[in-house]
Amino acid sequence: MLTRKKAALLLLGGVLSGPVQSAEFDFSGIARGQWAVNTEDGSSQAFELALEPELVSRFDNGWKLTAIGRLRAETVDGLRPGDVNRDSYSQASQPGLVGQELEAELREFYLEGDLGEHYLTLGKQQVVWGKADGLKVLDVVNPQSFREFILEDFDNSRIPLWMVNVEHPLGNWDAQFIWIPDQTYHALPKRDATYAFSSPQRVPSAPPGVTVDVRDIERPQRFFADSDAGIRLSTFYKGWDITLNYLYQYSNFPVLFQRLVMSPTGPVAVIEPRYERTHVIGGTFSNAFGEWVVRGELGYFSDQFFLTDNASDADGIVESPELSYVLGFDWTGIEDTFLSAQLFQSRVTDSPTGLVRDELDTNLTFLARRDYHNDTLQAEVLWIVSMNHGDGLLRPKLVYEWQDNVKTWVGADIFYGDRDGLFGQFSDNDRIVIGVELGY
């Protein structure tokens, strides 16, 4: 029987088998190492080595094939590739695992080119929507790995998906259609991993004396009926960059439905994770006014599921639409300096009973970045603060470009505040990071 992966490869091969006579190949890659030390006890929190080879083939008919791999080794317990739940990946996208420490993954593999007025990108890829930095509203087409919470660069933590991506001009607009049969969702840390979620906003807590039985995630199985699909319309009008977005998807976080059963040994809280569908409707904008750039995005999620502490609720979950938006301002009034502030808000619109999280959730981000010595040295501080819980994350970082292909960095990730908060839950994980990256 033909597997989906083989079918996709055959499809790519079919497109290539046309008028192609010859190809040019461009091989490059990145080698990266990073060491993180926990400032609480001085222990190593992470020691990671990664190799990311990239091969780009350009064919004489104008098409291009890109293949990006990643070989990643992490030796410190709690952040190893094996410390992440792998059942959120589809078979076609699941990285290979050697022991618990070594992961091999075909990160991206796509063929792109013109077909009449259409521009096709076929294969495993990342599609990034949205204008926000640091936190996400509409950048939900691809799921992400939370192995290191949100500390890893999004380009590395985003999980590429097998999809069909077609772009087509429509008058003054450009339309992008995506169809995603790849049923891969957020990769979440296992319960004892370093960045396992413990905040009651994300994880239900069992009453004392009740044991917890977490069942396997109920995954969508149907190739066509359970695929995601979306469209983005974008234009440039009188200085404004505008997009209108629609996505019909399974939310990337599983919903943790709960029920209490009696067993011979006592009460058991059974948690049955399941992915649920939602419509995402939204848009983005940006424009520049003198030294300022204003940008924003808005997303309406029709069917979101939240934890409730309402004792009479049958499954511990309530459903409501959610409206999220971000408004950002960038300022470049000082030479070589970039200052940015963003307001993120999300509102659970139906006011369900017993909602554990606040109906209105507000986060602010501040970024200050300055370049020195002809951009060879960059200093930045990112501060993300939750207005609801008063917790936050502070990330100072220095990056130095030694040579064209060698850069090093030193930084810190400092969590603080209420342990029930999304950031405060990792208050024990403060760390200092040093790293080096070599391009070849």
């Binding site: 490059s28 890659g29 990145i30 792109e112 521009y119 990342q126 990034v128 949205g130 204008k131 930095d133 660069d153 999004f154 380009d155 772009e167 450009d174 974008s234 440039f236 200085g239 960059d241 940006s286 424009n287 520049a288 006014f289 003198g290 030294e291 300022w292 750039v293 940008r295 960038d330 470049t332 030479e335 070589d336 370049d371 010595h373 002809n374 951009d375 060879t376 470009e401 040579q403 064209d404 292909n405 850069k407 990256e437 391009g439 070849y440």
Partner: protein, 274 residues
Amino acid sequence: MKTLTRHTRKGLITVLILAISPATNTLQAADWPTGDEIAQRINARDEGEAVSRNLTMEMIDRRGKKRVRETRGFRKYYGDEKRSVIFYQQPKNVKDTAFMTYDYPQADVDDDQWLYLPAMRKVRRISASDRGDYFLGTDFTYEDIKLESKVSIADYTRKTTGEDEVDGHHCYVVEALPVDDETAKELGYSRVEQCVDDAIWMVRRSRFWDTRGKLLKTIHTRGIRQVQGIWTQHHLEVENHKTSHRTVFTFSEVDYVKGVHDGVFTQKAIRRGL
């Protein structure tokens, strides 16, 4: 007749020289084109409707350490509106970075600029008022990059101050002063002196003074030769006198004839790359 003493004769000669010199200068100045005429001639020079070219950027610090970027660039005029884009191709850490500008003819309309950073996988809108900032680690400002071999009429008042020779070519020396303090602050220059080759109306050497009046940098243009009938600069060298950092731009595979597809100057094009 009373004999003139040696001292008196010397004094008279000095007076005569002093009397004649301004007259000579005035005569010469009357023959010189004005600063504005020179600026107009520079900007009237044919640049071709569209151009494609490779650009190698070498950035050299005071210790001689060199960083090199290989890029491919395109520029096209749509009436008086100019669109340009640069795609970075090497080295790996900046590969696929792209920078695009829509430069509008109206002085009171800001340019539109976008930057694609592959690490973010997003096209980012950037402010066009940073024109005095240095362009991606080079010693050229965003404004220098935008103007290419042209000059800004609206930002400066000009006067021709003399004649000179650069690389064996006769030049008029034009002093340009920003029209006001705000413009000077935006551009980062309080004064610019340009040596303009009056045979082909190209700037062969520019000196820039910072807003405190100190000599900031010198741009030396070499390798000027015709490509497909259009005078083209192939080698630009800028030295920052404050930091001793240098940047060398070398253009190659310049082509004005092939034409440039309109689709190159779009956000989706800088996202997709070359």
